[in-house]
Symmetry: C2
Subunit: 405 residues, 2 copies
Amino acid sequence: MHHDFAFQIEASQSGARAGILHTPHGLIATPAFLPVGTQASVKTLDPDELDHLGASIILANAYHLYLRPGAETVQKLGGLHAFMSWRKPILTDSGGFQVFSLAHLVRVDDEGAVFRSHLDGSQHLLTPEKATEVQHQLGADIMMTLDECAPYTADKEHHRLAMERTHRWAARCLKAHTALESEVPGPRQALFGIPQGGTFADLRRESARTLASMDFAGFGIGGLSLGEPKEVTQEMVHEIVTFLPPEKPRHLLGVGSPEDLLEGIARGADTFDSVLPTRIARNGALLTPDGRMNIHNARFKTASGPIQADCGCHTCQRFSLSYLHHLFRCQELLGYRLATIHNLWFTLHLMRDAREAIVAGTFETFRKSFLERFPRTDPQVQQEQKAKWLNSARRRGSSMPNDII
Amino acid sequence: MHHDFAFQIEASQSGARAGILHTPHGLIATPAFLPVGTQASVKTLDPDELDHLGASIILANAYHLYLRPGAETVQKLGGLHAFMSWRKPILTDSGGFQVFSLAHLVRVDDEGAVFRSHLDGSQHLLTPEKATEVQHQLGADIMMTLDECAPYTADKEHHRLAMERTHRWAARCLKAHTALESEVPGPRQALFGIPQGGTFADLRRESARTLASMDFAGFGIGGLSLGEPKEVTQEMVHEIVTFLPPEKPRHLLGVGSPEDLLEGIARGADTFDSVLPTRIARNGALLTPDGRMNIHNARFKTASGPIQADCGCHTCQRFSLSYLHHLFRCQELLGYRLATIHNLWFTLHLMRDAREAIVAGTFETFRKSFLERFPRTDPQVQQEQKAKWLNSARRRGSSMPNDII
């Protein structure tokens, strides 16, 4: 067990970095992808399976765990690692994204954000101090500051005010964190600051500079991929990263498609999380170097081969496309698991390959060759899908789509 | 791999037997419980997990697999073992129970049974020859004859006619089986005959005697546990078993609660199958020596211990009641799996303990001591639950409840 938090950059190539992140629960070779365990479970998977897949860190959502089973309950049960029986590092977000960007926000002022639970409508106040305390109770290795996520469509003045509040909140999170660290014994937790500023390059620069001057262990890059074109997302990542201290790690929140991961790495992000690989798996979309494969397609009914001939995952080693097709047609729960295993294997191995390419100095070739083969989802289609998804999440009255399948 | 089908009785004690069943895909130590993989998947579990749980044989439903993906498709893909990646023995039923006892039966005459698919309403004819062919295509180690399952409430004349037809069909199954065996190379499959006769002891005796005189490798005991009181079920099992050849194995269909398993063993049944342990697991009912535990109960929210302190299953070794409670509250798919693992471990170990007790000559003590501690579900309540379940299955228009969770 390493009781220090540290980051070493081993190699870099035109912005992309290969590093090692030290945390109390172990090392993370970066670039790294974090499977998302929203409710302290990466849907369908056992922690042992995550381990075998090579996941070195996962993300859990403070918002969900605060509401259920409660952060105090998790603390009493020994913290998130013990609660879910996962011994490797965990990153928690602050809950801000769930409270702000989706639904149930009652009001926000300098004190904090008042929101209603998507579970029972009960009213809660989330302050920077509370968000920090909750994450301390959960006991994650990496925690995030509470930020105000203004809607993508808000005007510049709205974004400026949200950014300024985000800075004040970041300072309060840091102060609360320092106080809690000194009170409680145990391994040190690392707090990451999150610059805001929407899609305004000058705001993003100002925010990155401001937070860079504060004593954070690393930085989250958030408030992006909320509806803006992908080129804008990538430009903002570039703007932010340029003003962050190069020696500290950067986590790009909510990014997980193969193409976006490679673009994020190219722009200097070190770690990433997204429900994408696991969610699309449960919908029957399987990742391959040639794009997404829909297992529901009738042509797989009699396909005796695996998803991908050269894939080393448990699913490809043991099961045929025909069996997976059958499980999905029958809505057998095993199907969702086997698809999740494959997509996470694919994603985690993509990160490993990217890392090796950075170390070998061949990342640009690797990235281009991957992207040439992997068909990009049409950006227009992608935005429409995202908008549809966000709308349906709002309609369902859920602050965060919490799909069972 | 053993290419012969044989049964050796190692020990017996006042009716209960401990044996070894040889099949083309391996040995089965009896008494044995067969987890049910209706649609070629024991719900939520990977074949490796079943293996680790100590399952030595599973059951798959010919009715479901005939409809989806189709027995020919399974055959083309190398048979059921290859299709689902399960290397140990498999038993298939004939499909008769699904066609007769639940719904969608259009008409039945000596030729066979005409039924409608619960999936698309398409009409199918199931004859003894067809049922045998389908099971040959699936390639199970143990197959069952097509029997006419009259409703529990039918009068004696109805049951007599159904029994007589069952005898004619059994002979036709045996003939078809013998012809198919001689045509097709490969490991020998064993065909079990199923006596009928409802809850009429004289009919059951007559049926058992008639089938006992035919060349079956073993016998299924079916058409029971359909609504009659438990004492009647047990009496019928006793009546049937008395007239079956003692050297051949007996499979009691559809029995899987701990108390019923022990009663069945006591009456000379060797193998058992039921969805009970896996279905109640997905509903949050966990088996323990002290009865069923409802994981939804609020008292488990902060329970840091396992389901059962002395249980060796993966779930009890790694996860707390509080975590399981949380997963069920959140409807996380992992919860259904972890509960299934525990219930199957409990059931499979109960069978192993029963076997050891028979060999040691202490089965009666073992059975009594288990039943004294394990609270019996009130028979009245149990019958009401079963009736409710059957009705709801009919209402849903499903020939067999095919619950996703």
